[in-house]
C-alpha cells in the first residue's frame, strides 16, 4: 500500500477491488454472460415478488404515476389550444410532439424502473458501509448495484407511453395533410436510439452516484438528476436562440442529454426521407456519445470505488 497512514482494515477491501474474482471458483456453467443474465433474472423475480407482497401499494404507485402523466398530457393539450406548434417552423405540431412526449415517457420509465431505485440505494450503501458486502461478492460491482432492484410499477408509464404513441401514430397516419406511416426501418432505428438514450441516462446516473462516494452522502441525487434531465424533455429547437446556443452546445456535446429523446423522437415523427442535412450527423453523434458516456461512467465508477472507505464497525 502506498499510503501507510491509512487504517489497516481498508487494505483487504482494496485488494478485493483490484483483483476481485481471480481466486473464486466458477460455480456455474454457460459462460459469463449467461451467469449475469441468470443473476439479473433472479433480481427481477425477487423485485416482482416483493412488489406483489404489497399489492395495494403497487397499484397505488401505478395510479399515481399514470395521474402524473395525465397531468403532463393535459398541460400540453392546453398549450396546443393556443398554438399549432412548439417553436416556429420546427415541425413539432401536436401529433409529432406527443410522439416526442411518448419517447420521454419510454426512456424515463425504463430508467426509473431499472436504475433509479438502485442509484438511490447506492448512496445509502456508502453512508452505512453496506457497500462492503457488495464489493465482496464474486460479481461485477457496478452490475450488482445497478440492477439489484427493479421497480415494476414504474413500467406502468411505459404502457401509458405506448398508448400516447399509438394515438399519435394513428393520428399522423389518418390526418388530411402529409399523412404517413413510419417504415419498419424507422421503427427499428427508433428502438435502437431509445436504447442509446436509456444508456446515456444510465451513465449520467452512475456518474452522479459515483460522486456520493466522495461526498459521503448524496441526498439530492434525485434532484440533481431531475434538473439535468429536465433539459432533455423538450425539442432541442427551443434552445436555438442567441442566448440558448451555448446551452444547446453544452447539452449536446458535453453532457449529451439533448440527444437522448430528440434523436429517436425525430426519427419516428417524420418520414425517413427527406431529412435536414444535420440530422444524420446528429444520429451518428448519438451513437458515439452513448459509447463515450458508458465508458466514461464505468471509468468514473471504478475510480470512485478506490476512494471508498468502509463506514462500518
Amino acid at each position: 500500500m502506498t499510503e501507510p497512514a491509512e487504517p489497516q482494515r481498508i487494505t483487504p477491501l482494496r485488494e478485493t477491488l483490484t483483483e476481485p474474482q481471480t481466486e473464486l471458483p466458477r460455480v456455474t456453467t454457460g459462460g459469463e454472460w449467461g451467469r449475469y443474465l441468470r443473476v439479473f433474472l433472479t433480481f427481477a423475480r425477487n423485485s416482482l415478488i416483493r412488489d406483489m407482497t404489497f399489492r395495494a401499494d403497487f397499484i397505488f404507485h401505478c395510479i399515481s404515476s399514470i395521474a402524473w402523466t395525465a397531468m403532463n398530457v393535459g398541460f400540453y393539450l392546453i398549450i396546443f389550444r393556443f398554438t399549432s406548434m412548439i417553436g416556429e417552423d420546427t415541425g413539432w405540431g401536436q401529433d409529432e410532439f406527443f410522439l416526442f412526449l411518448a419517447t420521454v415517457w419510454f426512456i424515463n420509465s425504463l430508467v426509473q424502473a431499472f436504475f433509479m431505485p438502485n442509484a438511490n440505494e447506492f448512496s445509502e450503501l456508502i453512508r452505512t458501509g453496506g457497500l462492503d458486502f457488495a464489493l465482496l461478492k464474486p460479481i461485477d460491482t457496478q452490475f450488482l448495484i445497478s440492477f439489484r432492484r427493479i421497480e415494476w410499477s414504474a413500467l406502468s408509464n411505459f404502457a401509458v407511453g405506448l398508448l400516447i404513441a399509438g394515438i399519435s401514430l394513428h393520428s399522423l397516419a389518418t390526418r388530411e395533410e402529409a399523412a404517413f406511416y413510419p417504415s419498419p426501418l424507422s421503427l427499428l432505428l427508433y428502438g435502437f436510439f431509445v436504447a442509446c438514450g436509456v444508456a446515456i441516462m444510465y451513465s449520467v446516473m452512475i456518474c452522479l452516484a459515483a460522486t456520493s462516494v466522495w461526498l459521503g452522502r448524496n441526498q439530492s441525487l434525485y434532484d440533481f438528476w431531475f434538473y439535468i434531465t429536465n433539459f432533455s424533455r423538450y425539442p432541442m429547437e427551443i434552445y436555438n436562440t442567441p442566448l440558448g446556443r451555448p446551452l444547446l452546445g453544452l447539452f449536446t456535446f458535453v453532457v449529451p442529454v439533448l440527444v437522448v429523446v430528440n434523436v429517436p423522437a425525430r426519427i419516428l415523427a417524420r418520414p425517413l426521407d427527406p431529412r435536414a442535412d444535420w440530422e444524420l450527423p446528429l444520429a451518428v453523434w448519438a451513437c458515439v456519445a452513448t459509447f463515450g458516456c458508458v465508458m466514461f461512467s464505468r471509468w468514473l465508477f471504478r475510480h470512485s470505488l478506490k476512494s471508498y472507505r468502509s463506514a462500518s464497525s
Partner: protein, 292 residues
C-alpha cells in the same frame, strides 16, 4: 385528554421564552448545512431556464400562426411572453412561502410511531410547535435564499415590463404570501391529522401533491385553463399556494376584485385553522399510546 391541561397555566413571559427557543433551535438546525442549502436553492432555478426557452418557442409559434413577428402583443390566457416568465419567477417566491415539505408525513409518522404522546404530557401544543419550527425553517431558508433569488431576479428584471406594482398592490402581494404560507401549513397539517383515522396517509398525500402541482398554478397560469374548468378551479383554495400571489403582483386581478379575493383567502385560512384544530382535538381522543 392531555395531561397538560391539569398543570398550572404558564405566564406569557414563559410562553414567549419557549417560542423563542423553538425558533432558535430550528434556525440553527438549518444554518448547519448552509453551503449545500444555497447550492440547492440556486439549482432550483434551472427548470426556469427551460421554461423560458419553451415559452419563447411557444410564443414564437403563436406569432407565426398569426403571421406576425413576435412582440409583446401576443397573449396566452392574458399573459404575454415577459408576463409569463415573470409569472414563473413569482410562483417560485409563492412556493417558497406555501410549500411545506415533510409536514403531513411528519405528523403521520409521529402518530404511527407513538411519538405524539410527548405533546400530550408536555405543556407544548403540537400545532403551535410545528408552526413555530416551520417559521424558523422558513426564516433560515429566506436568509440563505435571498441572495440567489435576488441574483436571478436581477438577471431577469427585463421580464417585469410593468415595473414595480403600486404600494397597495404590493401590500396585497405581501399579504397573499403570508396567508399562502399559513394556508399551506394548515392545509397540509390537516392532511397529516387524517392519520389519526387512517394510519397510512402517504398515498393520499401524493395524490394531493399531484393535484396541487397542477391546480395551484405551479405548472402554468390558471387563466390558460378552459373556461368551464377554470370556474371550478377558481373556487378551490389551491390557487393561493402559487397562482394568486403571482397574479396579484402582475396586476392580473382587477383592482375592484382584489379586496374581495383577499377576504375569500382569509376565509379559507380560517376554515383550515378550524379544521386542523378540530381534527387534532378529535384525533387525540381516538389515539391510544402504549409503551415508553
Amino acid at each position: 385528554m392531555s395531561l397538560a391541561s391539569h398543570l398550572p397555566p404558564i405566564g406569557i413571559g414563559q410562553r414567549l421564552r419557549i417560542w423563542s427557543i423553538i425558533v432558535r433551535t430550528g434556525l440553527s438546525e438549518r444554518i448547519a448545512y448552509r453551503g449545500d442549502f444555497a447550492l440547492g436553492t440556486l439549482m432550483r432555478f434551472l427548470p426556469i431556464i427551460t421554461q423560458i426557452f419553451l415559452w419563447g418557442a411557444i410564443f414564437n409559434a403563436v406569432a407565426s400562426d398569426a403571421g406576425a413577428e413576435r412582440d409583446d402583443s401576443q397573449r396566452i390566457g392574458g399573459f404575454n411572453f415577459p408576463d409569463m416568465v415573470a409569472y414563473f419567477l413569482l410562483t417560485m417566491i409563492a412556493r417558497a412561502f406555501s410549500s411545506m415539505p415533510g409536514l403531513a408525513s411528519g405528523i403521520a409518522s409521529q402518530v404511527r410511531q407513538g411519538e405524539i404522546k410527548k405533546y400530550l404530557i408536555q405543556p407544548i401544543d403540537l400545532i403551535g410547535f410545528l408552526l413555530l419550527s416551520r417559521i424558523s425553517h422558513k426564516l433560515a431558508y429566506y436568509v440563505v435564499a435571498t441572495l440567489p433569488f435576488a441574483f436571478v431576479f436581477f438577471l431577469c428584471r427585463g421580464f417585469f415590463v410593468a415595473g414595480f406594482p403600486p404600494p397597495h398592490v404590493f401590500v396585497a402581494f405581501l399579504g397573499s404570501l403570508l396567508m399562502g404560507f399559513l394556508i399551506g401549513f394548515f392545509l397540509e397539517a390537516s392532511i397529516g391529522m387524517i392519520s389519526f383515522w387512517l394510519l397510512e396517509v402517504n398515498s393520499l398525500l401524493l395524490i394531493f401533491m399531484l393535484f396541487s402541482f397542477f391546480l395551484s398554478g405551479h405548472m402554468f397560469p390558471l387563466t390558460l385553463l378552459p373556461e368551464s374548468v377554470a370556474s371550478v378551479v377558481n373556487l378551490l383554495p389551491l390557487k393561493y399556494l402559487a397562482y394568486f400571489p403571482a397574479a396579484v403582483f402582475l396586476n392580473k386581478i382587477p383592482e375592484d376584485e382584489l379586496a374581495t379575493e383577499m377576504l375569500i383567502e382569509a376565509a379559507w385560512l380560517t376554515f383550515f385553522i378550524v379544521a386542523c384544530r378540530f381534527m387534532y382535538s378529535r384525533g387525540i381522543r381516538r389515539y391510544s399510546g402504549f409503551g415508553g
